[in-house]
Amino acid sequence: MVENAAHAGKSVGEQVKDMILHHITNGWEWELPSSEWASPVHLNPNLFHFQLFGLDINMSVSRHVLMMFIAAGLLLIMGILVRRKIALIPKGFSSAVEAFVLFIRDEIAIPTMGKHAAEQYISYLCTTFFFILVCNLMGLIPYGSTATGNISVTAGLAIMAFLVIQFAGMRKMGVLGYFGHLVPHGVPAWLAPVMVVVELMGILAKPFALCVRLFANMVAGHVVLLSLIGLIFVMGAAIIPVTLGFGIFMYVLEIFVGFLQAYIFTMLTSLFIGLLVAGEH
């Protein structure tokens, strides 16, 4: 453990706890290798800090926001690279990206919402998938941090998914038809108000489930991984072979979980759109 003022007078266990919390939560510094070992880059917490309608709004760039910018930048570069080398039979990096895009179209979008609707929403689904994937994997590279392990980030993604789902439903059925859809066919009149509330709760529960699932999966994996590392400091050097083995296993599992959660988020958004768009026929 690094000896500094913040750790003075704390037991090893407490220091490990601090270390874990520091790595999974958001913050105003970004650890980068520099002349001084592991001295962080300080981000300005008052960059875009303002009051609006009596609300205290801080839109400054924190560590997770920075990670999202980097993820977006990487995706932009990826898009430009792939677009420049467009070909009938793509090679190298382009073919890898094409495999993912084809997977999203043929295995996610078309089976859940039919061919016609899939054409309309595939761009949104691809964007979500790649963004979540890159954000998930960013936490696994050194000096990176998992932006999707922050509930505000996943809530933002879920709100976007929520808006797209509602928009898809309204575009298909019309605004009035969409709200009429809240009462299923053949429900007795006395039950209709209850059904409206129940359906509305379902509409709110869908993005909530998306948000919590992604957040919890990303945080849980990192906590396990960091706890295994922390175990070395608590239990001594003899435990290193065990924690190293488990640590590598968890790391590989985290790579898989990163892909899986990006896939699940996309798949479920697609499924919810499909329930509204292709459900009535």
Binding site: E107, V194, V197, V198, E199, M201
Partner: protein, 85 residues
């Protein structure tokens, strides 16, 4: 790989059922609690919200399950409409 991918597509909706169930209850309970704070009607909105949350959890559970059971074949089969490019 293809087989793995299509089996993932089949299990994904089932993976949502549990969280959806939880989500409905959380929305119901928290919504009821919020209404109680707003109108000072403790504990009635909380109770009603919890009940509605449980009902809606079960309702959406069965809705997803029934939707999944009736679905296959039809025009939604990905093997039938592979785009020709």
């Amino acid at each position: 790989m293809q087989k793995f991918a299509s089996s993932l597509t089949k299990i994904a909706p089932y993976m949502n059922i549990g969280t959806m169930f939880l989500g409905c209850m959380v929305v119901g309970v928290y919504g009821g609690w919020w209404l109680d704070q707003k109108f000072e009607t403790e504990p009635w909105c909380l109770l009603a919200g919890s009940l509605l949350g449980i009902v809606s959890g079960f309702y959406h559970f069965f809705k997803i399950v029934f939707h999944l059971q009736k679905d296959p074949k039809e025009e939604n089969d990905p093997t039938n409409n592979k785009p020709k490019d």
